[in-house]
Symmetry: C2
Subunit: 192 residues, 2 copies
């Protein structure tokens, strides 16, 4: 990562954009070459195979979300605050990196088995973080005792992960505001 050439970075950017628009299988090396103004064969000076690009894009996306998750969990704050903070960060991250997030969420299943397993582990960890925050809120009495941890976490993830399908930068609501409103609704649903 530290030694990644500028060309490789450009290539990953173009891959994120093209894969998000046309899908991984709908994007050819030819398309990628045109996006960078070079012959498709020349791309192999920078990568070993097409799947490397998918992995790079997906791993970037996974890494970003997970970093926000770990940060939210480490906050000295109530469960409601952590949940709200994380949902805002999640939405902001998804919208700031819309192409990469789209690829992360809907093309990751085309990764090679090894790469897929690695990403699955990160997804599992992220989900666990959300559950831990909800469970903590129940413990402290902040959320109602009969709340369903798994369903509350899944509702959180559903709202967060569906944003990329409808968010448009020209829309009237800022990403922060979107995250906040979802969090309000969910936190109210969890109130005692």
């Amino acid at each position: 990562m530290a030694t990644m050439s500028p060309r490789r970075v450009e290539l990953i950017d173009a891959a994120a954009r093209l894969f998000s628009e046309r899908g991984y299988h709908g994007t050819s090396m030819q398309h990628l070459g045109e996006a960078l103004g070079m012959q498709r064969g020349s791309l192999y000076a920078h990568i070993g195979a097409k799947e490397d690009l998918l992995y790079d894009v997906v791993a970037d996306g996974a890494g970003r979300f997970l970093a926000r998750g770990e940060a939210a969990m480490a906050l000295p704050a109530t469960a409601s605050e952590k949940l709200t903070r994380l949902l805002i960060d999640h939405v902001t991250t998804a919208t700031d990196h819309l192409a990469a997030s789209t690829v992360f969420l809907n093309e990751w299943r085309y990764l090679s088995p090894e790469h897929r397993d690695e990403i699955q582990t990160k997804r599992d960890r992220y989900e666990e973080i959300v559950r831990l925050i909800v469970a903590k809120g129940i413990d402290t009495g902040e959320f109602r005792p009969d709340a369903d941890v798994r369903f509350a976490a899944t509702l959180f993830l559903s709202a967060a992960n569906w944003v990329y399908t409808w968010y448009r930068p020209e829309g009237e609501l800022a990403p922060e505001e979107i995250g906040r409103r979802f969090a309000d609704l969910i936190v109210k649903g969890l109130a005692p």
Copy 2:
């Protein structure tokens, strides 16, 4: 539709399954031929082009969801009851027709522009139905007056449309129960 041959029905079924597993662009006519035990060229006795199959699968999915939506709206019931009923029906439909629902939700963007527009209209109508139910609940005082109609509807749709990514038939919860728990959380979030 009334005159659809058994072979064509088999073909659409196989397309739903394969497109949901490998994506539209990741599925070749060769794959489809193998699934039906025939040569790929022979498939053209039943369809005009590969895209016809995508359209058939997506249109089936869209039609099913929309029918549930219109039915829920027509119920003689409170807004909470309609919302709960629709969410249960949505989840049940998505899980009963998991492959077609998956294709409907994540391959529809590869339709031809005309077909895409037609499906978009149905999606818009479905979303409108959810909003109308929420708005009605606010009018009658069933939901709190400051509830955000668009966000409540989007939270509903997010939960409903994310199910296909994590639902597994061998899981412990029945689809009805999944829909009911989501509905409870959302309705509680809307309570005055």
